[in-house]
């Protein structure tokens, strides 16, 4: 394809081609510190193509293609091209990754131990991870945590943090402007701005960590902490995993080990500061 880039994010590598220059230029800037795939061979191909030949020029419309595709994926505006590229990479992982149990979760690390946070879109897990990443924790990822069946360790997938709506303002106060992507208004998920992880997150992306605490954050409620039993944690993790069913017995064993070894709490919070206070307390107590 005319415009292209290759990059490696943790254990997965991508080859991204685009009919337009801008999405690749944005990727090149924000992923500048990232390594190239080993041997120049990528695990996955992502394509940003016009939905119809003329839609490359007239009212450009981006279809997200690649090795793994969803037939009914909605086309996107070229102004949201960076988001399309990120969605394309996520789609490859969600549909094609088999080397780890893929948990739809954010993840940060301290002292070699990992804090895993999972919840629905809007739960605040992404923003919390990004905030912790600026406050002494190592950001491992805001979208996927990769659980290794053989060791029970968690591996990082530190792609760009996807900040939505109010979270954009929150993080603009914490991270330097140079690490932000373009502000994309009125995407299917509202306003979105991407934030490149800090230098340490990128430099140590290949380091795994043993999970020490599992949290189910929920933003917009009166502060509260609730214990989560192993059964409930297991069920919620199966729902948060894109490849649990596919991995079969390996997935079952990995999640069983995870919930029997890692304490789990649900936390409700109404501000980032409250949540971070809770996390510090729980971490000192349980991890």
């Amino acid at each position: 394809m005319k415009h292209r880039i290759m990059l490696r994010i943790g254990p997965a590598s991508f080859r991204i081609g685009s009919a337009w220059r801008q999405p690749i230029a944005d990727l090149a800037r924000l992923y500048a510190a990232y390594p190239q795939p080993v041997d120049g061979v990528a695990d996955f191909t992502v394509r940003l193509e016009p939905t119809r030949p003329w839609r490359r020029f007239i009212r450009p419309s981006v279809f997200i293609g690649g090795d793994h595709m969803l037939a009914d994926a909605a086309p996107m505006a070229l102004a949201h091209g960076l988001l399309a590229a990120e969605m394309g990479m996520n789609m490859q992982m969600a549909l094609g990754w088999r080397r780890h149990v893929l948990l739809h979760a954010s993840c940060v690390e301290k002292d070699g131990k990992a804090l895993v946070m999972t919840g629905e879109s809007g739960s605040g897990k992404s923003t919390l991870a990004a905030q912790l990443g600026e406050r002494g924790w190592r950001l491992m990822g805001d979208e996927f945590a990769l659980l290794e069946p053989e060791t029970g360790g968690v591996f990082a997938f530190p792609r760009l943090v996807s900040l939505k709506n109010q979270a954009i303002g929150v993080m603009q106060r914490e991270a330097p402007e140079g690490r932000f992507g373009p502000l994309m208004r009125d995407t299917p998920k509202g306003d979105i701005r991407h934030l490149a992880p800090g230098a340490e997150a990128v430099a140590r992306m290949d380091e795994g960590a043993m999970p020490a605490l599992l949290l189910f954050p929920r933003f917009g409620f009166a502060p509260d902490i609730r214990e989560v039993g192993q059964g409930e944690a297991f069920m919620r993790l199966t729902q948060a995993s894109t490849n649990y069913v596919t991995l079969g017995e390996a997935g079952f064993s990995a999640l069983t080990r995870f919930v029997t070894g890692v304490p789990a709490r649900a936390i409700d919070f109404d501000s980032g500061e409250t949540a971070i206070g809770m996390i510090d307390r729980l971490w000192a107590e349980l991890a």
Binding site: D39, G40, V41, A42, D43, R98, G248
Partner: protein
Amino acid sequence: MSGALLVAVLRNPAEAADLVPAEWNALIAAARAERLIGTLAVLLQDIAVPTSISPILTDARGEAEREKRQALWEADRAAAAMASCGVPVILLKGTAYAAAGLRAGEGRFIGDLDILVPRDRLADVEAAILGAGWEWVKPDPYDDDYYRRWMHELPPMIHKERDRMIDIHHTVLPLTARQTPDAAAMIANAIAIGHGLHMLSAEDRICHAAAHLIADGDLAGGLRNLWDIHCLCGEAAAVDEGFFLSLFERAAAHGLTDPVWRALRLAHRLYATPVTAYRSPISVDYSLRGGDRFFIARLLARDGWGRESRKLLRFAFFVRSHWLRMPPMMLARHLWTKWRKGHRPA
């Protein structure tokens, strides 16, 4: 063109040793797009590949194993469901190859479960399958009516718990197609493969595959289907010296001489399938004939990013697939109906 690269490596896996990274990327993308990645991974199992390629191929082999397990379980469930009506389960395509341990099944992507049943027992089978948890997929009455009047299979059904599709065939090609293969003879000659399952005879397997590749459909997934034919031929010919004679005999009986012959010419050209030429009692050679080059160009229409190329040729084959299936007036009526319902060719 990466279609050609994929074919070259399938034909001679040792060629993979010399690939540069850009070629690997193109090969993997094309193999995934053609759903041949599992097959490729099995063929490259004992070839030295770059360290970054090994995990990709290992994943693909694992995925193919999973597909196979799932497909065999579906076949088992269908057999259990149909036990009550006393109709034998004759497996077609991927599931048959996997269940019988044929080379064509190694690493093969397996989609739906396809079975063949006698047309006069269709109502019993339909009732048995519906009673065991499968449900109709197509809610559109036009589609349902179309299948029942003109197609070689019932409208697809999906299992409500396992989410897997079953296609129940009662003959080989749509009822409107020009050829009318003898499905009753295929059923009569089917072979038991254990666990209450059956598959077509070696000759009929190829007749069936060639009919679908050449005389039906638009060659989407054609490289995979041609690879099936390549493997089926190689395996059958290895144990039966006169195999191609009996194949042409069966093909003639089904009215499928032309599609089978063309499929063998294409397989021989692209995959170096070992075929036998004859002077007598029939005269058969495998040099390319008029029109074959369009089929080859269409089969190889895949670029290094896994994209479909040669859009015009693809469209021509799409039109051809409909032309083969229906007389002109019926085709016009069908396309008009589908167009009004908002369907557009890709």
